[in-house]
Every structure is written in structure tokens, then in C-alpha cells.
Subunit: 222 residues, 2 copies
């Protein structure tokens, strides 16, 4: 099975099966049927069987899947059984929340360097990690062999920071800044953007309120 043939939506479902399997594992369950995995993951059991069949046959008819073994296999496929070296740029609110986010580290994302451009924070320490001037970004990322650059800067600085990360040779970028980044196609880019989701939700609610008001106005006119 070529990993590159697996679609992004399959990868996202595998990620959600991981969540379900971790929960089952904590509950001490040894086996799980595709039906139960499907119910908990919010998909059909045919979809579960199809997704898992990509990776060979884990399940046994009538018995289902072995929980710890399937979890181990999916983690290995997803690259979650190893550590990724991350450099965080932007020591503000989002950067700090991320740095102290337990799940982030538990999943193997290890922040080995932090950068900022504000004199006030450069030199401060977060646990054992000293915040460095962003001017040192390229040589430091090279020296430390960083895999993933994390952009947690204001929108206006995000593209410039991403360009420096690419120059320094990261393989992937995780962008928390509320703007679209341009990166070469061999760089994997993922975006987590709460502000845009919030504002798009706000817009959708306002649009639906406007519709309801119009409907009411029409009823009154009739």
C-alpha cells in the first residue's frame, strides 16, 4: 500500500478512529467490532472496514479488531509512534497555550525551540526552552534538525516567518495565524484557525437571522 495514495479524508477518519480506540483502550476493552467503531466514530461500518482494509486485514470475522494492536498499527501508519521536532514562532497567547497543551506533547510533537521578535520576551524561559530572537531562526532550525515549524504570530508576520522556515528546511508547517500561507508544494501545510471559524459562524448566524426576519415580515404583510 502506497501511503501517498491515501486521501486526506481517509487520514482524518483514521485520526478519529485513533480517538475512539484510545477511549476503548482506557476502558480496558480488548476487542471492538467495526459496527461499534463506526458508531463511536460517526461513520458507517462499511466505511470503517474499507478504511482499515487499506492497511491489510486487522479484523477477524465475528471477533472484530484487537484494540491495542489496531491502535498501534494506526499510530504507526500515521507517524504517531515517533517524535517530531517542532520550532514555535510567536510567544504570545496562542504560542503559550500550545506550549502548555498536554496532548500536543503526548502525541509526539516536541517543541525544541521558540522564537519571537519582541525584545521583552526574548531571553525568557518556558520550562527549559529559552525564547530566541527570530533573527536566529534559520541557523537554529538547521542546527536542531527541526521537522515542523509552528506559526503562532500575528497575521502580518506569518508569511515572512513561513518563508524563513522553508529556507531553513522544515518538512511541514502548522499555521495558527489567521491568514493563508503560500509554501512550496513539497512542504506539508496544515491550518488551525479558530478566529476564521468563529467569524464564519457569526456570519452564518447573522445571515440566518436576516432570513427569519424577512420571512416574518412577509407573514405580517400577507
Amino acid at each position: 500500500m502506497k501511503l501517498s495514495r491515501i486521501s486526506d479524508s481517509t487520514v482524518r477518519r483514521l485520526s478519529s478512529y485513533c480517538r475512539v480506540l484510545e477511549e476503548l483502550d482506557r476502558e480496558g476493552r480488548r476487542m471492538v467490532s467495526s459496527k461499534r467503531l463506526a458508531e463511536r466514530g460517526g461513520v458507517s461500518s462499511a466505511q470503517v472496514r474499507k478504511d482499515l482494509s487499506y492497511f491489510g486485514s486487522f479484523g477477524r470475522r465475528g471477533l472484530g479488531y484487537n484494540v491495542p494492536r489496531l491502535l498501534e498499527e494506526i499510530r504507526s501508519i500515521m507517524g504517531l509512534n515517533r517524535t517530531w521536532r517542532c520550532a514555535l514562532v510567536g510567544a504570545g497567547h496562542i504560542g503559550s497555550a500550545l506550549f502548555s497543551y498536554h496532548d500536543f506533547r503526548r502525541r509526539g510533537f516536541d517543541v525544541v525551540a521558540i522564537f519571537d521578535n519582541a525584545e521583552a520576551v526574548v531571553g525568557q524561559k518556558w520550562e527549559d526552552c529559552e525564547i530566541q530572537n527570530v533573527k536566529k531562526l534559520v541557523p537554529e532550525i538547521r542546527r536542531l534538525g527541526v521537522d515542523i515549524g509552528i506559526v503562532a504570530t500575528p497575521a502580518r508576520a506569518a508569511q515572512e516567518v513561513a518563508d524563513l522556515m522553508v529556507e531553513a528546511g522544515v518538512s511541514g508547517i502548522l499555521n495558527f495565524a489567521p491568514r493563508k500561507l503560500e509554501v512550496p508544494k513539497e512542504i506539508s501545510l496544515r491550518n488551525v484557525n479558530m478566529t476564521i471559524e468563529l467569524e464564519s459562524l457569526s456570519f452564518a448566524l447573522r445571515a440566518s437571522e436576516t432570513r427569519s426576519r424577512k420571512k416574518r415580515a412577509v407573514s405580517v404583510d400577507e
Copy 2:
């Protein structure tokens, strides 16, 4: 202009123009050209002009757009000049980070109720807001006239909580739980899912490493 005709991608770009305009406003700039707005927003200036033309003509040829006025107009279109009443379900790490996230409140998202199912946290206070038992969710959301339900529970509880929110009459749901939610089509649903983005990034990096290794193996064989 019918709000419902505006595409989701336009809304997302408007959200990013908001970011740029807020920055310009803080810098004390009164006017901005579509070119500059485009550069900072990471799109073409033709795109900016097209997006803004939906809402009537804000710009003046040769002078550009008035920054505070355009910001005010976009905020009004997006429903960001008002307050949305939010109920947060899940008083764990994500819920707590969100509750204390300054930007969330500044954009008019006001958490008026918090729910959890753990005896240990029910009754605790976050600022002035007491954490209530999730069993009270439906009557409390109705009583308080909540607009938006925020799902910050573990994956396994997320659908059940969303169903209760819909029953209670919320207009929108913001989902932070790492699973896909099913809601009636009249409910606006937005997802913010860091774990899935992280794991999908991890997978992409692993897949590209596998490709590089294969390439190297082929080179050696030749």
C-alpha cells in the same frame, strides 16, 4: 445583496481582511489601497475589489478605502459588532483555554453558561460563571436564550451533547471535539480541530519520508 448568496470562501477572506484592517487601524492608518490590502491578506487586488464590491462601493479611485469605515462595515456584515450568547460544554483543558482566551470575548462571544458531567468540577466557579451539571443543559440554554453551543468534550460525548444543544434551540455549534457531528441543516456548524490537523500533518510527513527513502533506494540500485 442577499447575505445567503455570499460563499463560505468569501466570508473567510472577509474575516482575513478584518485582521489586516485591525492591524492598519492600530498603526493609525486612515486609508488603504486594494493593492496593500491584497498583499497583507495574501490574495490578488482584483479579488479584494470583487469581494468588497458585493457590499456596495466603499473605495474611491486613487484614494483607496477608509480603514475605520471599511472595518466597521465588514464587522457589521459579519455580525461581529454584536454579542453572541454562548454555552460551553466540557470544563476540561480546551474549555478552560477557550474561556480565558481574550480574543474570543473581544469578538463578542460571551460565555453565559458552562456545563460538565464530572461531579468534581460541577459547582466550581470560573470568574462569575458556575459550572453546572450537564443534565440542566436543555432548560438552562432555553432560559438564557443561548445562540451558540460550544462542544469541548471528549469525542465520545460530543454527538450526544450536540443533540441536546439542538433540542434546546441553539442556532449554531462550534465543535472542538475530534469527531464529525451530525446536526440538522438549519444549524450552523463549525469545527476547530487541532488534533486532526496535527495527525494529518504527521501522516503527510511520514508519507513524504517514505517517498524520499524509496527514491534514495532507487538511486543506489541504479
